[in-house]
């Protein structure tokens, strides 16, 4: 079947029941989304489908009905997305494994809300688990990303 991933057409031959995550990783070699739980409980596999954050580990390939964006396609022409830039400046990541998903959730949040409050950040990011405990810096980085986005607009 044909998908659009990170702006490019992608033909994937796989069982339509295969979760999008595994089709991206094992078949297409798009390694940004990570496997953490397989039950949509940790958010490490978060990608956007038509701008909406979804857990790709639990979305069957056959039900993908829009353009897929993964962290691999977030930077444009080598320029980091404001959220990535903020993550870099705030030095958020420790092990980094959950951060692809964290960043995709934060991008979706800032697409909806220009200047999120602590509560809005907590709500939007609540599905993304981080075992290293980077939450204080995630909060700071989401706020910084909002500023960078505003400055670039």
């Amino acid at each position: 079947m044909r998908l659009t991933v990170n702006g490019k057409p992608l033909d994937i031959e796989a069982d339509p029941e295969m979760p999008l995550l595994w089709a991206l990783r094992d078949i297409a070699g798009i390694m940004g989304p990570k496997f953490g739980c397989g039950i949509a409980a940790c958010g490490a596999c978060t990608v956007h489908v038509d701008g909406v954050p979804v857990r790709s580990c639990s979305l069957p390939l056959g039900q993908v009905s829009g353009e897929v964006l993964t962290i691999d396609g977030l930077a444009v022409d080598g320029k980091l997305h404001p959220v990535q830039q903020a993550w870099l400046e705030e030095q958020v990541a420790q092990c980094g494994y959950c951060q692809a998903g964290q960043i995709m959730s934060a991008v979706a949040l800032l697409d909806e809300v220009d200047d999120p409050t602590d509560d809005e950040i907590d709500q939007a990011m609540g599905g993304n688990l981080c075992r290293c405990g980077t939450y204080p810096r995630i909060r700071a980085a989401v706020k910084k990303a909002a500023q960078i986005k505003l400055a670039r607009a």
Binding site: D26, G32, A93, N128, R131, Y135, R137
Partner: protein
């Protein structure tokens, strides 16, 4: 297995406790204990000075950070050691982890196993530490653990940078025809100011590497440091914000197969009946093979993709054997609690005469308490995985692992090939917390690589397999009593701690032919070695006889439960003695200025003693572990949706702070890890099997639960401590003590969620 057996005996004698906790050594040149492993793998135009530095003719500088990066920032800090003395910027160096090699052995990891208190500078303590160091050298123990990477690398990696710099300067002096003393170095360039001539490191690297290394080097004073002592931009950050494929699970090779395992959920049991025919017929399945190992029995499923392997593994029809241990948590915990009360114990600390102190104690001055802590899973975000390829008599293993030398031994042994034909590539790790000091994932990958006719195979655990086949933090129980004096301070404390023997458990997996070994001092780490002066003070460890349940090193190891036990009980003592808990510590820690300064700092930061509004309260705890002194205060609030964690203040004395930014993140991250466990985590058993399976029933703190943090870093103590684990131990008792202050409920069993609802 002859070599393994020999090494096993040494490991066994030393006590395997050292592994998780943490050791590596000395200056490479001054004895050249091992060949430089970089010699054999240089790129075109590249030359090497020692096991830590490679320089290319194009001025590419590569630094080897031979410890595993699991998030703790070690690749940045170790690279900074070399860069500082080499006089290059951190963004000028490329950081690699290096091959598995004896050259990178960790000496500090065994030092912690010497059994002496961290503050003990006596001749006996120093002798024991240096013997451990010698043992580490013999073992070539290249490991990451015990919060030792920084303390271990501090001297030898700076020396490696300084030695390379001297050789480069000497070569430049010859090339430029000027005295070496007139040359200065900066940003990988050597400058002769008088003549305005300069050369880059790359231009003289080849000549320099042929010179004999200097017999001694002088390291910079702390005041001259440009990189160390200041927060650095992490060398791995850009990769981590762009989703780069840097983890073990991201390994992708031509013609690769994908696999998973389904191992017996009953520890030590084998399949009594199995039928793999339906699973073999599943789409995408290539092969199903039985696996027998010291980690367990079960099946490996090889397929064309990971999802196909997962689906087929579920379909294997198998009946497992019965457990040789009590089948449910209640019975297991009874074994541990009984050991705490009456099991044969080893006395690990014995100040004064505890029995005499209790003999005439009035009943109203004696307090008794029983504590418990559950089994815990590590659950790093990246599930266990490993990729292996066995082709033409050579094996490559790509493993997110903490023990590359052991991975190499085991994989070579499984493949039946020489060690020097076995190559271990240590990848970045999506968390580890001690879990990746185990070897199961590598053993399974090596076994499956024998079945794929030379094709590489990547084994990935499902989260369920990972959660139910961990080597757990041991459950533990404490049976405690104390006698309070007229001034409210403790006169006598008698602590008996029972848990599974972690060293014995590890020996059974790594060297099953060996006997289980002696007492495990890590069982009382965090209780026996705390900086309190109490006239009669006894701490004993009693092993709980549960040899089949695999237990291992979980971030901060024995400190993780003893921190809770010791500091919860100290809070009880303070309450009974009607002494403020912080004031009590000030009195009992008066002999330990570093501890006292930490207590005072965290009290000041948190405005300890200030009256709080109704419905809010603070709790305090302190643990010295891995050489760092940590005090934490947490403030909690009663809210309509439950108890909310509002803010935590942390003061830590690390002796010398190499990277304050990374130290801060380790303190807050360690606290989150400890609080996650304290609030709601437990591994329980039914029918001999772990009941939890994924994040829905073994969750961790979420962002909305995370308190605000404030961290202060002190440098009072004269020796450097570790940072990766030390934020964990005081977190649980600080929270439990805050809850007592909030509502008067003294909780002596973790997790606290059994009795408290958290917001």
């Amino acid at each position: 297995m002859a070599s393994l057996g020999k090494i096993a005996r040494r490991t066994f004698l030393i006590g395997a406790a050292a592994i998780a906790g943490g050791v590596a050594v000395g200056y490479y040149y001054y004895r050249k204990p091992y060949p430089n492993p970089l010699e054999g793998e240089l790129a075109e135009g590249e030359t090497t000075f020692n096991p830590y530095v490679k320089i290319g003719s194009d001025n590419t500088i590569t630094v080897i950070a031979p410890r595993a990066e699991m998030g703790q920032g070690v690749s940045t800090t170790l690279a900074a050691f070399v860069a500082e003395e080499l006089d290059v910027r951190l963004d000028q160096v490329k950081v690699e982890f290096g091959p598995a090699s004896y050259a990178y052995f960790n000496a500090k990891m065994l030092e912690e196993g010497s059994g002496f208190n961290f503050w003990d500078d006596s001749y006996a303590a120093e002798t024991a530490r240096s013997m451990m160091l010698g043992a580490g050298k013999m073992l070539g123990l290249q490991g990451t653990g015990g919060s030792t990477s920084t303390t271990d690398g501090f001297d030898r990696m700076r020396q490696a940078g300084a030695a390379a710099r001297l050789m480069l300067v000497e070569a430049a002096a010859k090339k430029l025809g000027v005295p070496a003393a007139e040359l200065t170095t900066e940003n990988a360039t050597i400058v002769h100011k008088a003549s305005n001539k300069s050369v880059t490191y790359g231009e003289v690297a080849l000549d320099a590497s042929k010179l004999s290394p200097p017999s001694e080097v002088v390291l910079k004073d702390k005041a001259q440091w440009k990189l160390l002592g200041k927060p650095q931009m992490r060398v791995d950050m850009l990769d981590k914000v762009t989703g780069a494929p840097i983890y073990g699970i991201d390994v992708r090779l031509p013609d690769m197969l994908y696999a998973t395992v389904r191992m017996s959920p009953v520890f030590g049991a084998k399949p009594v009946r199995s039928d793999t025919s339906a699973a073999e017929k599943m789409p995408g399945v290539v092969k199903i093979v039985p696996i027998e190992s010291s980690y367990g029995s079960g099946f490996g499923v090889i397929a064309n993709n990971t999802w196909a392997a997962f689906k087929a593994a579920e379909v294997i029809d198998v009946e497992w054997g019965k457990p040789a241990y009590p089948a449910d948590s209640e019975a297991i915990m009874k074994v541990i609690a009984d050991a705490a009360v009456s099991g044969e114990a080893t006395i690990e600390r014995d100040d004064g005469d505890v029995d005499a102190a209790f003999a005439d104690a009035p009943a109203d001055k004696v307090i008794e308490a029983d504590y418990t802590a559950p089994y815990l899973s590590h659950t790093p975000m990246e599930p266990m995985n490993c990729t292996a390829q066995l082709k033409d008599g050579e094996m490559h293993v790509w493993a997110p692992n903490q023990m590359p030398v052991l991975v190499r031994w085991f994989c070579a042994d499984i493949a039946g090939i020489p060690i020097d034909k076995t190559h271990v590539h240590t990848t970045f790790m999506g968390g580890a917390f001690g879990r990746r000091g185990e070897l199961d994932y590598a053993i399974y990958a090596a076994k499956l690589a024998k079945e794929t006719d030379g094709r590489p195979v990547k084994v990935t655990f499902t989260r369920e397999e990972d959660t139910q086949h961990d080597c757990y933090r041991t459950a533990a129980a404490g049976h405690f009593r104390a006698r309070i004096g007229d001034d409210g301070l403790p006169i006598a404390v008698d602590l008996r701690v029972a848990a599974q023997n972690m060293s014995a458990s590890l020996t059974s997996r790594w060297f099953p032919s060996l006997p289980a070994g002696g007492p495990d001092p890590s069982m009382t780490d965090g209780s026996r070695n705390q900086p309190y002066t109490i006239p009669n003070y006894r701490v004993a460890s009693a092993p709980a006889p549960l040899p089949d349940i695999p237990v291992s090193f979980w971030r901060s190891v024995g400190n993780s439960m003893n921190g809770f036990f010791h500091e919860g009980f100290m809070d009880e003592i303070a309450h009974l003695g009607k002494v403020d808990p912080v004031e009590m510590r000030r009195k009992l820690m008066a002999d330990f200025p570093a501890a006292l300064a930490v207590v005072n700092k965290v009290a000041e930061m948190s405005s300890w003693g200030e009256k709080l509004p109704t419905g809010k309260a603070k709790g305090f705890a302190f643990t010295l572990s891995f050489g760092s002194w940590v005090g934490q205060v947490i403030q909690v609030a009663e809210t309509p949706s439950g108890v909310k964690l509002e803010k935590m203040w942390i003061a830590v004395d690390v002796g010398t702070a190499i990277d304050p930014g990374i130290i801060e993140t380790q303190m807050t991250g360690g606290a989150v890890y400890g609080l996650s466990a304290a609030m709601g985590q437990e591994i329980t058993f039914k029918d001999g099997m772990v009941e939890q399976s994924n994040f829905h029933d073994f969750d961790a703190m979420r962002i909305w639960q995370a308190p605000q943090f404030e961290v202060a870093i002190l440098e009072n103590f004269h020796r450097m401590g570790g940072v990766g684990e030390v934020g964990v131990p005081p977190a649980a008792p600080a929270l439990a003590n805050a809850i007592f202050a909030l509502n008067g409920k003294r909780i002596r069993s973790l997790p606290l969620s059994r009795e408290v609802k958290f917001a």
